[in-house]
Symmetry: C2
Subunit: 206 residues, 2 copies
Amino acid sequence: MAEANNPNDSTEQKIFDAAHEVFMQKGMDGAKMQEIADRAGINKALLHYYYRSKEKLYEMVARAIIGRAVPIIREFLETDYPLEEKIKRFISFYVELIARNPFIPIFVISEMNKHPDRFIDTILPKELPKPDIFLRQVEAEIAAGRIRPVKPQHLLVNMVSLCIFPFVAKPMVRIVLGMNAQEIKSFLDERKEEVLQFVMASLRPN
Amino acid sequence: MAEANNPNDSTEQKIFDAAHEVFMQKGMDGAKMQEIADRAGINKALLHYYYRSKEKLYEMVARAIIGRAVPIIREFLETDYPLEEKIKRFISFYVELIARNPFIPIFVISEMNKHPDRFIDTILPKELPKPDIFLRQVEAEIAAGRIRPVKPQHLLVNMVSLCIFPFVAKPMVRIVLGMNAQEIKSFLDERKEEVLQFVMASLRPN
DNA sequence: ACATTTTTTAACCAGTTGGTTAAATATTTT
DNA sequence: AAAATATTTAACCAACTGGTTAAAAAATGT
């Protein structure tokens, strides 16, 4: 090993981190190998020494990005907490994840739309979280009269939409609502509670 | 004029339409002038004969894309229908717009995040819709006890999120919910009613 | 028929990009 | 000290990209 013993400081890791930044912000088309090398503080030759090609590097980075979100979704969909507790935890974890990594959803969305084949075949894990448990749980709550009748799939999509979209559309929201940097930040901070209240209010039975 | 009298068939328009398709699906970085020329059924030289540069062509296309969404948002924000009527109309128009042009929001989001300066300075119109009327209207409804207390800005963002996001995340939704092409289509068709019900249910006073 | 405009052809240019190579140098391992 | 590994340097390539040019050809207008 050439560098320190700490594997976080290894050249391979430094390259990966730099590639992570650049790919996340610019996508496959916008990312340049030279910029990745510069940000990693090394030269282009060394890039190909560790990661053969842009394609390979992109795949590893994209898999890592996806891999971070999957367990959160899985825990939400596949555990068996009571519904309200579950929703609370999901919104809380999810809003926090996106708040810390706001580029994740933009990356996933635009890359998946630009190169759907590559994404589905080589980036997405084969075992995706299955929503069945959650969907049946919602149906049971409806049958018991504890929540308003609602199509479970739409409820799921609604929750995810409310969590993710405002971060994705942040620049637009900022401009339309006439907010400065501080204001948009606290606005997005508020969403954790606000989304939860909005969803729970909508689910109240008649 | 070289072509038919119908200006929709003019070469200039054919180029614009082709550029519209390509830029919308691939963004500035991913779009290639050669592909635009091919899709327009003409050659590269003619591209620069009508539109000097990629930059110019991109600007015109991007402005047109934005320009189509702005009047809908403006009508929603600045007219003075009763709130429920307004929300109904907004969701209806907006879901239909996005259903017909699902690439619009992806384009706006990813381009705005990749090149925010260009977007704000040269693409966005100077006069954006102002949300004040809507925000005050919501406050008035709350004061009159006709809807649940809710922060008006969050309500606005929630509505837009629920309308747009499912179309943006369509491939992901499809995979996670295990739908085929027909199923995802009817699922998205349902959203017009579903979003309206979800929002109105959440606004019911206690 | 003539002039004007539109479109094609095709070669060309300069800049960028992903990627390679080989030799030199530094660093670590043994 | 010797061997193995990691890193730099720097030149280089082929492919691609946006853009230009000039001349010919086709279409259109008068």
